[in-house]
Amino acid sequence: MIKNKMANIISGAEEIILDTFKITTIGNERINVRNYKLIEEYTDSLITLAVKNGNLRIYGKELEIKNISDSELNIEGRMDEIKFTGGGK
């Protein structure tokens, strides 16, 4: 509860305080994932990322990781579906 209140106060860094991931999409061509854990799978049609409490699956065509930094990842391509499945690391 306290974490949620803090996150509300400090907007913009909620994912750090709540220790969870944050997805931002621009149309269906760009996606930004913050605070992910690992890259589980990387092909041009599916990118699977391990996030807190599960996996994040991004389906599409010609997917490409544009850049990877410390806790942030940018993907470009034609995205069809974003799916969250529980049971990840």
Partner: protein, 415 residues
């Protein structure tokens, strides 16, 4: 911006071949190695870009993940400089090119004087030089207002001057003073004579002895106001005659004009020859040797440059245009109109700035089938007073008047 920084620091594009591509990326991320443009080529091969300084870390991670690393591309300034280490001359040439490009963009490479008819361009350029404005001068050092003011003080023939830098060329727009008026020193005695033939209509004399009256007809050079005054109180003395003498003056121009004329007409064929001039020596840069149309019209375009502020060179382009003699037949009406206009322009060029045109008369006589004689007459109203040094008469011993040392010179009267 990121791309520019990456280029300056340098980066490499590597291929990672192995079965654990994702693990490799995760370990790279854990090791804080920034990566970008990550392409999965196939199931076992990934292309990615990393900074040069991170390449050592990549090798360790590759060993851990049993991947093979290959450098596909080296991009950036460090590689560029390294490549040209052995080609020193190329590097020097590139540096010289950059220096010249920077120099040309930050210094004036030419001065163009526009709008002058009477004052030679070279004179203005020399005057600008004395004020520190010259080819090769840094553009940012130009103080337009200061130069403008100083030029107007320096050259009395300049009525207005515009200093307009455009790129690395400086344009000087000059408006010349219409008439430079001569001034006779007030301490020197002088007469006023007629500057032009006419009929006097108004006399406004402030000093001197008036010798003519209104409606008197005078010839050019006739004495109007004498600088020698004979008064009852002080007797004879020399003075500086002052005043305006307004008269009705007449200007007449007569000339023959022809209905059929042989005039040179451009055929459209031309020859261009370009020369490079350095200290009077010319070298032909382009164009064929030998003139094809030596009798044709020639247009000369000259551009002056100063390389590195030391070597003054000029590029001179001659454009010779072939002409042939062509007969032009004009109608009577057209010939008369053009003739009248031409004669009017001739008369106008003789008029002073303050001359008022009151009436214009024109007449023509058809001499034969081809020739028309046209006469144009202007009736004007103007101040015909012209100061002339008085003949030296020594009244000093008697009256203490002005002694005149300058004799026999004529100058236009002071305003």
């Amino acid at each position: 911006m990121i791309k520019v920084v990456s280029f300056i620091k340098g980066y490499v594009k590597i291929s990672v071949e192995g079965f654990f591509g994702e693990r490799f990326l995760n370990l790279m991320n854990t090791a804080n190695v920034p990566m970008w443009d990550i392409e999965k080529i196939n199931g076992t091969c990934i292309f990615l870009k990393i900074k040069i300084e991170d390449f050592k870390k990549v090798r360790k991670i590759a060993r851990k993940t049993k991947s093979r690393i290959k450098i596909k591309e080296r991009t950036g300034l460090p590689f560029f400089l390294h490549r040209y280490k052995k080609r020193r001359f190329s590097l020097v040439a590139i540096v010289i090119c950059i220096v010249i490009a920077v120099y040309y963009n930050t210094h004036f490479m030419g001065i163009t004087v526009r709008g002058t008819e009477r004052i030679p361009e070279r004179e203005i350029i020399d005057e600008l030089k004395t004020l520190g404005v010259h080819i090769g001068m840094p553009i940012k050092e130009l103080d337009r207002v200061k130069i403008k003011n100083e030029m107007m003080v320096l050259d009395d023939d300049i009525a207005w001057i515009g200093i307009n830098p455009k790129g690395s060329r400086l344009y000087i727009d000059v408006t010349e003073r219409k008439e430079k008026e001569g001034i006779i020193d007030d301490s020197v005695a002088c007469d006023i004579v007629a500057g032009h033939k006419g009929v006097i209509k108004d006399l406004r004399i402030r000093e001197g002895q008036t010798v003519v009256r209104v409606n008197d007809a005078v010839e050019e050079g006739d004495l109007l106001v004498s600088g020698v005054i004979d008064s009852m109180k002080v007797g004879m003395r020399n003075v500086h005659a002052r005043g305006e003498v307004f008269a009705e003056t007449y200007y007449k121009e007569k000339d023959s004009f022809f209905l059929r004329e042989i005039v040179p007409e451009e055929t459209g064929r031309k020859q261009k020859v370009t020369f490079l001039e350095y200290k009077g020596n010319k070298v032909q840069l382009s164009g064929k040797k030998g003139l094809k149309y030596p009798d044709g019209n020639c247009r000369i375009l000259r551009k002056d440059y100063e390389i590195l502020g030391i070597f003054p060179i000029s590029i001179i382009e001659y454009e010779y245009r072939e002409t042939k003699q062509a007969e032009v037949v004009k109608s009577e009406k057209e010939t008369i109109e053009k003739g009248i206009e031409e004669l009017k322009e001739r008369i106008k060029s003789q008029l002073g700035v303050n001359t008022e045109i009151r009436d214009i008369k024109s007449d023509y006589v058809i001499k034969n089938k081809n020739e028309i004689e046209i006469t144009v007459e202007f009736c004007c109203f103007e101040d015909i007073a012209l100061e002339k040094y008085t003949e030296k008469i020594d009244f000093k011993s008697k009256n203490g008047g002005i002694d005149n040392e300058n004799q026999g010179k004529n100058k236009k009267k002071s305003p």
